[in-house]
Symmetry: C2
DNA sequence: TATATCGGTTTCCTAAGAGATACCAGATAG
DNA sequence: CTATCTGGTATCTCTTAGGAAACCGATATA
């Protein structure tokens, strides 16, 4: 999101496109923050407490490369705080910032809709095997 | 989502992984329905009224291939209704189903968070140029 | 001296997402 | 007879997301 906003998306021509961008852009911003394979698992893991890098790596099964990338993004967006302890070997702890709590409502909305949608589309099949 | 659920995601080992999947899977489901470049633009366009295929194509600037794919998915998920009129040439109209209204709350939550997040991260820069 | 730990980074690779372009059949308008 | 409209498909290409594996320097343990 932040670096540049050349993201030119068109829209129905009832409304001019800046008007439309104003509707789309924030949704895109939020979605960019949550989509991808690992953001939600990481955030949910961190709601249960602080974790060190290798702990996250092992526990959610993400490769170090992805984990490093995702954590950097989350930190840039002020959702995660990174703390280095100069123990030996160094340990680095990751925790959610208080601001991250603001995502709660969004994630809840997603989960609620996802739950009822699954029920609607597969009424009697396997209940989350 | 629907076809198969082999999507094995791990999770912090405080909770067993089925427990954790129960948290993650619905969020994934919802996110799958909304992420990607075109779902939201299409849905928002259709909230302003019915559109024919070529109209959507021209107005939101999506290629026919992608549009076709996205509309099929939305229809499969009962969010969009497709109606064929045997005028000449045939016209096909797409509209949101009443069920699609259930997404309203989710999209609003995303937009609200996106708006305040943008303000937080870029307090005084360009206001959606 | 060898091995393991820590938090990453680097390189290589594949699969998926997405764009560009051409094309189709049927009918009508010029 | 040709061009144009419709709702799409098919093919080719490029870009991005993501995984696998090896590696790094510093330190501790065996």
């Amino acid at each position: 999101m932040c670096p540049k906003e050349t993201d030119e998306q068109k829209c129905p021509d009832q409304h001019n496109s800046t008007e439309c961008a104003k509707h789309l852009m924030p949704v895109r911003d939020a979605l960019d923050m949550l989509s991808g394979k690992w953001k939600i698992p990481i955030i949910i893991a961190l709601t249960y407490g602080n974790y060190r890098f290798k702990e996250l790596h092992r526990q959610i099964g993400i490769t170090p490369k992805m984990l490093s990338k995702e954590l950097k993004e989350l930190e840039m967006h002020q959702l995660v705080k990174r703390t280095v302890y100069d123990s030996t070997p160094v340990t680095v702890s990751y925790e959610l910032t208080p601001y991250a709590a603001s995502l709660r409502h969004v994630i809840d909305a997603l989960r609620d809709w996802g739950l009822q949608h699954r029920k609607r589309l597969m009424p009697k099949s396997k209940p989350a095997a």
